[in-house]
C-alpha cells in the first residue's frame, strides 16, 4: 500500500470514528454528569425499600447516595419523598425546599411544602406557601381550593 493510499485510509477511519462518536454523543441525550443513576443497584435498593415500606432504611440509603451526588435534584426529591412519608413534617418542608432550590421542576413540588406545613399544624405557613404556588401556577385550582379550605375551617385568618 502506498503512503498516499494509507494516508487517505487513515483520514477516512478518523472521519468515520468522529462520526461514530458524534452519533453516540448526539444519541446519548442530555444526561448530565453529577446525577445518580436510579437504576444502579444502590438506586434500586432505595426504591424497593420505599415500595416495601422500609422507609428508615430508604432514608439512610438515600442520605448515603446524597453524599456522592450532593447536587442531584432527584436525590433530594427522593429524600423529601421519604421524609414526607415518614410524616416528619418539619423535615419534609425543609427537604422539599431543598429540592425546589435546585430542581427545574419546582412548580410541581411547590404544593408539597405547603402540605408539609399544613400537616405540621402551621396553617399560616401553609397558606403562604399555597399562595406562592398559586402565583407560580395560576391555573391550578387545587391551590385556591386549599386556601379556601384552610380559611373556611377557621384554621387561619389573615
Amino acid at each position: 500500500m502506498t503512503t498516499g493510499r494509507l494516508g487517505r485510509l487513515v483520514v477516512l477511519i478518523v472521519l468515520a470514528a468522529l462520526y461514530g462518536l458524534g452519533f453516540l454523543w448526539l444519541r446519548s441525550g442530555a444526561e448530565a454528569s453529577g446525577r445518580a443513576d436510579p437504576l444502579s443497584p444502590q438506586g434500586r435498593a432505595i426504591e424497593l425499600s420505599i415500595r416495601d415500606g422500609r422507609l428508615s432504611d430508604a432514608l439512610a440509603q438515600t442520605q448515603a447516595l446524597a453524599r456522592s451526588y450532593p447536587r442531584d435534584p432527584f436525590v433530594k426529591y427522593l429524600e423529601a419523598t421519604i421524609v414526607y412519608r415518614l410524616e416528619r413534617w418539619a423535615d419534609a418542608s425543609r427537604a422539599w425546599d431543598a429540592y425546589i432550590a435546585v430542581a427545574d421542576a419546582s412548580s410541581a413540588a411547590c404544593p408539597m411544602v405547603a402540605i408539609a406545613h399544613e400537616r405540621a399544624g402551621d396553617a399560616a405557613g401553609a397558606v403562604e406557601r399555597y399562595r406562592q404556588c398559586a402565583a407560580a401556577d395560576p391555573e391550578d385550582p387545587l391551590m385556591v381550593q386549599a386556601i379556601e379550605r384552610l380559611e373556611s375551617a377557621g384554621e387561619f385568618r389573615p
Binding site: 472521519l15 452519533f23 448530565a32 436510579p38 426504591e47 435534584p73 432527584f74 421542576a105 391555573e139
Partner: protein
C-alpha cells in the same frame, strides 16, 4: 434482457415472496398482541385467506422453485445443494398439504420456529446463487488515483442525494401543509424546516459515504473479499432495519430476535443477489436525467407518504419507504456522477465534518423545537433522518427497564385474588347494568365533551341525566389490557394473559354473587377470560369480533330483554367495533356534513348514536331506564391524523389515553351524592363504581385497584386530584404518567426510546412541552414505583435489564 430471463426473475421473486409472507405470518402469529388483536379477531381478512390457501399455494410454489433451481442443478458445484433443497422442500410441501400448518399457528414458540423454517429455502437458494455468482466477480485493479476518484464519486453522489431527497420531501411538505392550519409553519417555519432537513440528511448521507468508503477498502480488490464484504454489509444493514422496524414492534423474545432478523436479512439479500444473478448484465446503464430523476424521487416520496397515511403502524411503512427512496436516489446520483474527478483529502474532510458539526453545535435535535416538530409531521424523510441522529431523551437503562417489565409472555404468573369486597353478600338491590365499551371512541367526537359536535344528540341527551366524567383516562392504550382491566377493576401485570383470570375479575365476581343473568358479546379477548356460566346468554354469537356492530348488538339485546322476566338481575356487555380503524373503510364515503371532523369516523358515531337513543327509549318503555346503571365508555381513544398519526398501536398521546366516561345511575344511588365529575377518573374505576352503586363498600388493597367515582370523601377526592396515575400501552413498553389532576401527561416511550410531555390549562387543548431532566427523573420514578408495586402485588420476579 430475454423473455426467459424475465420469467426466471419473476419466478425467483415469486418464490421469495411466498416464503417471506409465510415467515411474516408466522412471526406475527408468534406475538401475543398481534395474534390476539389482528389474527384471531380477523381484522384483515386477507391474512385468513392466505393461511387457509397456504397448503394449496405451496404446490405451485414448489414448481416455481424447481424451475428456478433447475439452472443450478446442471452445474457440478451446485448440483448436490440443488437436489437436496428440492428434496427437502418437497417433503415439507407434502407434509403441509396433509397437516396445514399456518391455520394452526398461535402465539407461542412454535410460530417462531415456523417463521425461521419458512426462510430456509430462501437462505439455501441464496447460498446456491452466491456459489455461482462468485465466479462472475472480476478482480479490481485500483491505483491510488482510482481510489481517490472512487471516494470522490461516492461522496459527491451522497451529497447530491441528500440535497435531492431533502428537496423532494420538502416540496411534498409544502403542498401538504397548504391544506392544514399550521401557524408555526409559515415562510420562516418552513425555511427553518428546510435548513434542518438539509442538515439532518447531510449527516445521514455523509455517514453512508463513510460506511461505503470503508467497506470498499475492506473489500479490497480480490473477488472473494469483495463478495463477502458487500454481502455481510448488506445483511447487517437489512438485519438492523428489520430488527428496528419489526423485532421491536412484535417484541420478538430472546435469541429468536437476532435469529429472525438475520434470517430475514439473508433472505432479502439473497433474493436481491439472485435477481442480479439472473439479470446477468454488468453493463452500466445510462443514468436518468436530473429532472427525470427528481421527478421520480418526488413521485416515490408521494407514494410513500400516501401509503403510510392510509395504513401505517407506528411509521414502519413510512420508514421502509423512505429507505427505498434514499436507495433509489443514491443509486441514481452515483450513476450520474462523473467517475474521473478526484477531490483533495482536505475537501473530503471538510465536506464530511460540516453537517455533523453544524448539527451538533445547534443541538437542533434536542427535543425538536416546535416548528421543527410540526415540520416533521409533513416530511417522513426528515422524521427518519432525525430519528437516526436525534438525542435520546430518555436513558437507555430506563428503556431497557421498561422493556424488561413489559409483555411478560415468558413469565409464569399465578392469578392473584382481586377482591374489592372480601366476603360478598348479595346486594339488597340489583339494578340492570349495561356496560358498553366502544372500541376506539374519542371523547371529542361526543357532544357532552365537545359543544362543536352536532351528530350525537341522543348521547347528549343521555349525558344530561347522567354523570359525565370530563377528566377520564384509560389505564391501558390498546384493547388487549384495557378491557380486562375494566372488568378486573385493577391495573394488571403486563401479560396477555394471566389465567385463570377469574380470581382477578372483580366484575365477574360481583355478577356471580348477585346471580346476574349476562348478555355478553364474547369478543376475542374476554371469551378466553370469562368463566363459563349457565347465566351467560351470548350476544353476536357466531360473529367475528371485528363484525360487532353497536346497532345490531343493541337490537339483539332489546329482543332478549323483552323476553326476560321482570325482576331478573340483568347485565349486558359489548365491545362494538364500528369505528375501529380497520373497519372504517368498509362503510364507504359518508353522507352528511362533518366539517372539522374525520368524516368516516364521525358518520359511524352518528349512526350508532341513533341506535343508542332507540335502545334507551326501549329501556324506558320496559320501565328499566330509571333504575339502570348504564356505562358508556371506550377502551382507548384514537389518532385521527394528528401529527400524521392514525390508529392507536402503542401510542399514549392525549387523543389515545383520554376516553369518554358517562355513567347513568339510578336515582336512589345519586339522590344524596355530590359527585365530583371533573377530577381524574380511570377506566379501572368503573367496576368499583358499579360495586358502590350496588351498595358495597369496596376495600382497597393498594393503588393499583380502582376507586369508586361516587365516593366523595376527602381522601378519595384528594387521591384522584393529587396522585399521579400511571398508564401503559397494551402492546409495547410505553408508559405514561397523568398528574396535576389530569393537566399534565408525561409519556416514556421505551419502544422509540424517547419521551414527551404535554400540559393543558383547564378547558384548553394539550400543548407539547420540552422535557427537562428534573421532570423526567421524577416521572420515571413514578413509573418505576408503579411497576415495583405491580411486581409485588402479583408476585412477579425481578427482571434483568
Amino acid at each position: 434482457m430475454t423473455g426467459s430471463r424475465v420469467l426466471r426473475i419473476a419466478a425467483r421473486i415469486a418464490v421469495a415472496a411466498f416464503c417471506l409472507m409465510t415467515a411474516l405470518y408466522a412471526l406475527i402469529a408468534s406475538s401475543s398482541f398481534a395474534y390476539l388483536q389482528f389474527l384471531r379477531p380477523h381484522v384483515f381478512p386477507w391474512t385468513d385467506t392466505f393461511a387457509n390457501w397456504h397448503a394449496a399455494l405451496s404446490w405451485p410454489w414448489l414448481i416455481l422453485l424447481a424451475w428456478v433451481v433447475s439452472c443450478h442443478s446442471r452445474h457440478e458445484r451446485t448440483r448436490a445443494l440443488s437436489w437436496s433443497l428440492l428434496s427437502l422442500t418437497s417433503v415439507a410441501v407434502v407434509w403441509n398439504s396433509v397437516y396445514p400448518i399456518l391455520p394452526t399457528l398461535s402465539d407461542n414458540q412454535r410460530s417462531l420456529v415456523m417463521a425461521l423454517a419458512a426462510l430456509i429455502p430462501l437462505i439455501w437458494l441464496a447460498l446456491l446463487e452466491h456459489v455461482r455468482a462468485h465466479a462472475l466477480i472480476a478482480p479490481l485493479e485500483r491505483s491510488d488515483e482510482s481510489w481517490r476518484r472512487f471516494d470522490s464519486r461516492v461522496l459527491v453522489a451522497c451529497v447530491t442525494a441528500s440535497v435531492v431527497v431533502t428537496a423532494a420531501f420538502f416540496l411534498l411538505a409544502v403542498l401538504e401543509r397548504r391544506n392544514a392550519f399550521e401557524p408555526d409553519l409559515l415562510v420562516k417555519g418552513m425555511a427553518y424546516g428546510l435548513w434542518s432537513s438539509l442538515l439532518a440528511h447531510g449527516v445521514v448521507f455523509i455517514a453512508i459515504f463513510l460506511g461505503v468508503a470503508l467497506c470498499a477498502r475492506i473489500a479490497g480488490t480480490s473477488p472473494f473479499r469483495q463478495h463477502v464484504t458487500w454481502t455481510v454489509a448488506g445483511v447487517a444493514l437489512v438485519a438492523l432495519i428489520f430488527d428496528r422496524l419489526v423485532g421491536t414492534v412484535l417484541s420478538v423474545p430472546g435469541v429468536f430476535r437476532p435469529l429472525t432478523a438475520v434470517a430475514f436479512a439473508v433472505s432479502v439479500e439473497g433474493t436481491w443477489s439472485g435477481v442480479r444473478f439472473f439479470n446477468g448484465s454488468t453493463k452500466p446503464r445510462r443514468p436518468l436525467s436530473p429532472i427525470v430523476a427528481f421527478g421520480c424521487a418526488v413521485a416515490l416520496a408521494w407514494l410513500v407518504e400516501t401509503v403510510a397515511a392510509a395504513a401505517d403502524w407506528d411509521d414502519v411503512l413510512a420508514r421502509v419507504g423512505v429507505a427505498a427512496v434514499w436507495l433509489f436516489v443514491v443509486t441514481w446520483a452515483y450513476g450520474a456522477t462523473a467517475a474521473n474527478k478526484a477531490l483533495s483529502l482536505a475537501t473530503v474532510a471538510l465536506v464530511c465534518l460540516s453537517p455533523l458539526s453544524i448539527w451538533a453545535a445547534g443541538r437542533a435535535v434536542e427535543g425538536l423545537p416546535h416548528p421543527l416538530a410540526r415540520y416533521a409531521v409533513y416530511d417522513a424523510s426528515y422524521r427518519t433522518a432525525t430519528s437516526l441522529v436525534r438525542s435520546r431523551s430518555g436513558n437507555s437503562a430506563f428503556d431497557r427497564y421498561l422493556n424488561a417489565n413489559t409483555g411478560l409472555g415468558d413469565v409464569d404468573v399465578a392469578p392473584v385474588n382481586v377482591d374489592l369486597v372480601p366476603a360478598m353478600d348479595r346486594a339488597s338491590r340489583t339494578p340492570p347494568v349495561f356496560l358498553f365499551v366502544i372500541d376506539s371512541l374519542r371523547r371529542d367526537y361526543l357532544s357532552p365533551y365537545n359543544p362543536g359536535v352536532r351528530f350525537t344528540p341522543r348521547i347528549g341527551a343521555f349525558a344530561a341525566d347522567s354523570l359525565v366524567f370530563t377528566n377520564a383516562f384509560t389505564r391501558y392504550g390498546g384493547t388487549g389490557l384495557s378491557v380486562p382491566a375494566i372488568w378486573s377493576g385493577s391495573a394488571l401485570p403486563h401479560k396477555q394473559y394471566v389465567r385463570p383470570f377469574h380470581p382477578m375479575n372483580g366484575l365477574e365476581k360481583l355478577l356471580d354473587a348477585n346471580g346476574y343473568r349476562r348478555f355478553l358479546s364474547l369478543d376475542s379477548i374476554m371469551s378466553g377470560l370469562l368463566e363459563p356460566s349457565p347465566l351467560v346468554d351470548e350476544l353476536d354469537r357466531g360473529r367475528d369480533t371485528m363484525d360487532y356492530e353497536f346497532c345490531r348488538t343493541l337490537n339483539e339485546l332489546e329482543t332478549k330483554l323483552a323476553s326476560t322476566s321482570r325482576g331478573t338481575a340483568v347485565f349486558a356487555y359489548s365491545l362494538p367495533q364500528d369505528i375501529h380503524m380497520s373497519r372504517l373503510e368498509r362503510w364507504g364515503t359518508p353522507d352528511g356534513d362533518f366539517n372539522g371532523f374525520f368524516a368516516p369516523y364521525a358518520s359511524r358515531i352518528q349512526q350508532f348514536d341513533r341506535c343508542f337513543g332507540a335502545f334507551l327509549e326501549n329501556l324506558r318503555k320496559l320501565d328499566l331506564y330509571e333504575d339502570s346503571i348504564i356505562v358508556l365508555t371506550a377502551d382507548h381513544g384514537e389518532m385521527l391524523g394528528e401529527n400524521g398519526q392514525f390508529g392507536h398501536s402503542y401510542h399514549l398521546f392525549p387523543e389515545v389515553v383520554q376516553v369518554p366516561l358517562i355513567i347513568h345511575l339510578p336515582q336512589w344511588v345519586t339522590a344524596h351524592l355530590a359527585v365530583d365529575t371533573s377530577s381524574t377518573a380511570l377506566s379501572t374505576d368503573i367496576t368499583p363504581t358499579i360495586y358502590a352503586a350496588l351498595g358495597y363498600q369496596a376495600v382497597r388493597h393498594g393503588r393499583l385497584i380502582g376507586r369508586s367515582l361516587i365516593d366523595s370523601s376527602d381522601e378519595a377526592l384528594t387521591e384522584r386530584r393529587q396522585t399521579p396515575h400511571v398508564l401503559a400501552a397494551s402492546y409495547g413498553a410505553v408508559y405514561a404518567v397523568v398528574d396535576r389532576d389530569g393537566r399534565r401527561l408525561y409519556i416514556a416511550d421505551g419502544v422509540n426510546r424517547t419521551d414527551r410531555l404535554y400540559e393543558r390549562r383547564p378547558g384548553q387543548p394539550w400543548t407539547e412541552r420540552a422535557v427537562n431532566p428534573d421532570v423526567r427523573a421524577v416521572q420515571q420514578f413514578v413509573i418505576r414505583q408503579h411497576l415495583d408495586e405491580t411486581a409485588k402485588t402479583f408476585g412477579l420476579p425481578e427482571r434483568q435489564y
